[in-house]
Every structure is written in structure tokens, then in C-alpha cells.
Amino acid sequence: MTRKAAIVGGNRIPFARSGSAYARASNQDMLTATLDGLVARFGLQGVQLGEVVAGAVLKHSRDFNLTRESVLGSQLAARTPAYDVQQACGTGLEAAVLVANKIALGQIESGIAGGVDTTSDAPLAVNDDLRRVLLQVASARTVQQRLKALAGLRPGQVVPDLPRNAEPRTGLSMGEHAAVTARQWEIGRAEQDELAVASHRNLAAAYDRGFFDDLVTPYLGLTRDENLRPDSNVEKLAALGPVFGGEDGTMTAGNSTPLSDGASAVLLASDEWAAARDLPVLAHLVDAQTAAVDHVHGGEGLLMAPVHATPVLLARNGLSLQDFDFYEIHEAFASTVLATLKAWEDPAFCKEKLGLDVPLGAVDRSKLNVNGSSLAAGHPFAATGGRIVAALAKQLHEAGPGKRGLISICAAGGQGVVAILES
């Protein structure tokens, strides 16, 4: 038995800039508040769901059961099981796919998929040398052994390891990786700035028309995404200096996503479950695909895996890239979105790398990220997938039945998750 999982609705808290409004909130605080907002929206107090699946990219070791603990702290029935997932920036969408798959298989009738991240309350790791000494002290049996172990302490060991936004195998930050890809695909500065401005304008317009009234619940005094600049324009962005790609780089703080804090959650269910509770079905999750590239040795762009995942997904569903009413391409960097679009249009790339005789072709830009994306909203890594799934589902629902949307999210480690929603 398979059936398509319904997307009933979603909730997120406004995304904050790092070290700002949510500086004192933990991942568990934010995820719990987000679940409670979803509970309030759909009257799920005391309801036992099939499963809650969520995760965080930056996670304290004490949060080994982050999602389950958040469920226990929420208004959901304590009997609702939960588990954590992590696939870098793909976490949120992957969580939705996992819940949807179980619903499709009839293993569960309902579930919540979510994600949360804080760059303000990120775990600090103890420097590896110090950690070894401390572990030796802990395992020492005699006082002498303990003293001997402690004698191994050195001042330099006290410096903690800050979490870095760097790829373990290349040592390059994500931005540096993206800059390499931008140069490779000759993505210009002006088009990146234009994409960023469009993101801010679209997000601001969506807030103004009340689009987020049933998608976002304010938190700790924040009512809109803190990074949103409704009056952003190309002239202002042009004045910013490059932050990645060296002096002649094209990537600035304006066309790259800022570090942010936030959480999101999506309610999925079988059609029957939703109908029994008089809950809406905004859209169905039709299918999804993940892919990975070899960014270490293969000379491929770190954030280009969705480019590879998409044709597989399209072929399996008998669709062309143009068969969509809306496209949600996560704006890790403006250049990432533009490189993705360019790659799909490039005959040589499509032939050699994707094995396609005909390139996937162009995407109608008026259908792209119509309610803004990560450049304006911010990007708390694991929370982005939930933000996109809920907003796209609502957009499709507003557009009427039979409308189709494509989601593409790139992730660290050279991975990518793409999915199709249909109203």
C-alpha cells in the first residue's frame, strides 16, 4: 500500500540573527515553542501523533534526544515517539521525507517534521589535547595516577575549539567553496545582488499580505525575520565589499545567508487523518531524491548536489523541469541558486555530468522563491527545510488544485535533497 502524504500546515518562529533575539534560547527551547505553536494552530493538545522527526546541525552532546525531549516539553501527548536526524542543511527536508514515507507506507497516520539551529548557543568543543588529559584523569584509579595525568595540562589546551563553518576534508569554508563554484560558472556580482533584493522584496510582500499569519508564530519579541530588509536595493548591496573569493570576489554579506537562529515544523498526515479532524490538506509530498557529489576529489561544486538529484527525480515522475508552477531553491548563497540554474541550462554539463542528451533548460524566474528565501529570512540550517515545505504547500494551495512545486536544498558534505509537492 502506498499513498501520498498530505501536508496539513506548518509553523516556525521568526528567524533571528546570530547572537541577537534568541541568544539565550537553546535548540530545545526553540523547537518546543515551535511545536507548541503548531499544536495551538491545529488543536493538537494531548494528541498522540505517529512520530515527530527533527534535528539540529549544531548540537550539544546533552541534546542526544533533542526531538523527544522537545516533544515531552510540548503540549503533544507524551506518548508521541520521536527521533533525531541530521543531514546538514538538508535536515529539515529529509525529516519531512522520512515522515511522509512512513505515512505513504501506512506505518503512521500523522507526524511532524522539523528542524532547529542556533549559532548563538552553539556547543564549544574542548580542545582535543585537553580532552585526552581530562579523560585520563577520569579513568585514573589512584591519586598518583590522577596527579600524573593532571601534570599533562598545558595552557594552550584551554583554548576551546569553536565550531567552524568549514568542510572537514577541504578546510574551506562553505562560502569559499561557493566562491569557487561562482567563478567556475561565471556568476556575476550584479545578478547575485538582484537575486538578494528579490528575496527581501518577496519576503516583505508576503508578510504584508498576511501570507505568514498562519505559518509563523512570534517568539521572544520577534514578529518577523530579523534579517529581512524590505527596503533593500541593488545600489545598497553594490556598496558592500566581498567576503568570499578574495579581493575580486563577487560574494558579499548581502548576497550570502547570515548565521541565524530559529526552528520550523511541518504537520504531515494521511488524507483520512486530516479529514477526520477537519484539517486542511494544502498539498501532497509526491516524491523526493537525494544526491551527493565528490567535492573533495571530483572537482565538483560543494553545493551542486541538487543539480544531480533533480533530473533523477524528474525522470522517475515523468516530468520536465518546466512542469512546475513554483520553484523553491534554497538560497545558501545567491551564487548557488544562479549556478544551479545555469548548470541545468548548460548542454555540455547536462550531457557530461548528468548524462542528458537535452539540457533540463531554463526556469521561469517569476516562479522562483516567490515568497522570499534564505537570503532574506535567514538560514538556521536544519530549520530551512520546514520553512520551505510549509510555505510552498500553502502557496500551491492558494494557487488551486493540481499545481506543482519543486524544492531544492543543498547541504554541507556535498549533498542535496530535492522534492516535489503537488496541491
Partner: protein, 462 residues
Amino acid sequence: MTQPIPEDDLIVSDWYRDFTNSGVGATLTKRLGLPRPAVLRRHEPGAPLLPGPAVVGTAGEGRLRDPLTAVLKDAGVTLLSPVTADGGTDGERTAAVLLDATGLRTPADLAAAHDFLAPALRRLAPSGRVLVLAEPPSEAADPAQAAARQALEGLVRSTAKELRGGATANLLLVPDGAEGGLAGPVRFFLSGRSAYVDGQVVTLTAAGATDGQDDDRPLAGKVAVVTGAARGIGAAIARVLARDGAHVVVVDLPAAGQALAGVANEVGGTALQLDITAPDAPERLVGHLRERHGGVDVVVHNAGITRDKLLVNMDAARWNAVMAVNLQAQLDLTQALLDADGLLRPGGRVVCVSSQSGIAGNRGQTNYAASKAGVIGMVRAWAPALAERGATINAVAPGFIVTEMTARMPFGTREIGSRINSLQQGGLPVDVAETVAWLAQPESTGVNGQVVRVCGQSFLGA
């Protein structure tokens, strides 16, 4: 973490009331002749309607003695026989004194009212209830009868001012044919639900008898909407409607969403973030109710704002903002609910929150008072149309209610504001909520187009 602050923490404790009810405080305030505000009897689910017996008297040949007695018996109230001025010193305190004055023909008959009430009031217990039932002066047979009926208003309002210990006096006008709707209103005025309703006149309209209701969960199975429910009076209304059995859809500005979600989760309801002044607000509310609940039974227009300034200094923005939230949105939302086929279910209830300022006026509040007076006009005009659908629409006009807003007022203003009423204290949000919930009950079907003040018989605009 999204839990709202519990109501009790918000209420600046009435230190004066507590002090005057303490041993030393009581002696001191008595010697100094200072007012001694009582601790009011408030409704608790499961508690008996009255904490003691009641006594029913008549002035003239009334027609309500029997139905009234039946209502009291049904509610398990023990009835004492009336005593005369010189007799009956057995000393048992009464919790309620009811007078059936429907038999009044001339002012001379009023002497009987006095004869019954004077000794009865002497035996009235703290938080006792005086309820006089009569017929509307407007339907009198002749001027003498109209005079006698109208005289009761002066009698009841003055009695309310003389009562102490948290006791109240109210007048219920029951025209011919309205007996069927007697039970609900009588129970309300005797119960702790009406703790802060004092010196009021409510006129019933002819209405068929209802099927009765479970008085502990009178709203079981009903769907209610409350606007402005993220905090204050609106949150209290949501709690009381939920306590009475309703599923409550709480509505507030998107920016108030965190507190709103807390209220929704507390009452097991659902949150709808909506600016009620948005052009598409009526459409969105109707769509939401239709999709999620298939209809609605109770609509409470509670959201309201103040933008105070003397009229000469008032800018258009202040004027327009207050009008938009307090009056126009109530009109637009109600119209949309009435237009949406079958959405407001049979027996529907619309309750609009007005204000004492809309009755008495208030310096610096021309915009606010105008909007709140407008609500009263709207309610009266709509009442007949709603009656045709078996529905009702009423207004509740709170007086000085202790909320976050009033807690922030300067000490002097707050102290005076809360004392200038017959109960010598401010009301609580729950008092407004209880009155709203009463109007929402199935058995309130005979109460339509009324304005019920919840003001402890405020001296303002009385």
C-alpha cells in the same frame, strides 16, 4: 514556555480590600468610617447556585411566583417564607431575596415592595442577591402603571447602593410571553457569575422555552470565537467559555501570536492569528470557521484599543485606528458571518464588548467612547434580525477592570478608578468573561439587544 502568565499573578492584589478584611484592618477602617470592599462570591463549577436559602415575595398579584419558585427548586435552592417587618427573628441569613413585582398596577402597590424588602434585606448574607422581576414600563396599560414600574428602577438602583458585603441588586423586566426564558437569567443573577454586575436592568424578550442546559457545561459541543484573546479580558473569556464546554478559536494580531498560542493551548482551543481590520479579515475568518468547524455558535467581539487624546489634539490616525478596531471590524465581521450561508448556527450568540466610556463618556476618549457607543447602537439595531434566526446579539460594557493595562496606571488614578462603584473595588477580567459566557448560553435565548454593564454599579454614567 509559551504559557501565559497566570491570571492571578497579573492582578495587582487588592491590598486595600485584603487589609480591610484583616483583623486589625477591619477594626481600623470601621472606626475611621472608611469603605470596606468585600471579597466577592464568584462562580465555581460544581458549587450550588446559592450558598444559602432564598426568599420570594410579591408586590401585587404577580404572575411569576410559580415559575420563579420552580427555577429555584430545580436549582436545589431552599426557600424560606417571607417575614414581616416586626416578626421572624429566627435569624437565618438568606443568600437571595427575590421580588415578583409583575402585579404592580399603581404606585400605591409599591408599598408592598417596601414591606417585603426591608425586613428581608436585614437578613441578607454577604454577597447576597436581590433580584426584582417586573414588566417593562413601556408596555404598561396606563401612566399610573408605567410610573409604578419605572419606580422600581429607582428602588433597585438605590438598594444596590445601600447593600454592603458584596451583595448586589438587579432588575429583570419580563414582558408577557417571555416567561419561557426566565430560568437562565434568574440563575445568572443569583450565581457567582454575576459577582460584579450590580444595579442593572435587563429586559427579556418573548422567546420559546429552551431544552434546558447542563449548568456546569452549558456550552458543551459549541464552537466559539473570541477576538483579542491573547491577553486581558479576551484571554479570560476564552478560559471561561472553554471551562463551560466550548471549543474556543482564539483570535489576535499576528504579533501577539506567542501569547495567543499559550492561551489556545491552555484552553485546548485553536489559535488564529488575524488582524481583524485587514480588508480580507471577514473572508479569512469565515473560511477558517467553515473549513475547520463547519460553523460557529458563539462570536465574541472583544478586541479593542485606546488612543487617548483630547478631541482638539486628536489626529486622524488615532481616530481612525480606534474606529477600525472597536467598531468597523465588529460590523464587518458580524455582517460576513450573517451573510455566510448557515455559518452562524441556529441558536447563535454574538456578544460585543462595549465600555462604560461608551455610556458615560470619558475625558480624552472621544474616539474610544464614540466607538463603544456605536457598538451599543449596532447591537440594538441587529437584535430583531438575529432573533428571526433564533440567535441573539448583546453588548457587555465593562467598568473598571483590573488588567495589565490598569495595573500600569498611576497609583492614585487606579485607586480612585477602582473604588468609585457600589462594590468599592475593581472588577476582574473573569467577571466580564462570566457575563459574556452567560449571554452565550442556550438558556439566554430571551436576552437580546441588551447592554449589560459589568461595573459594580459604577458612579460614572449610572
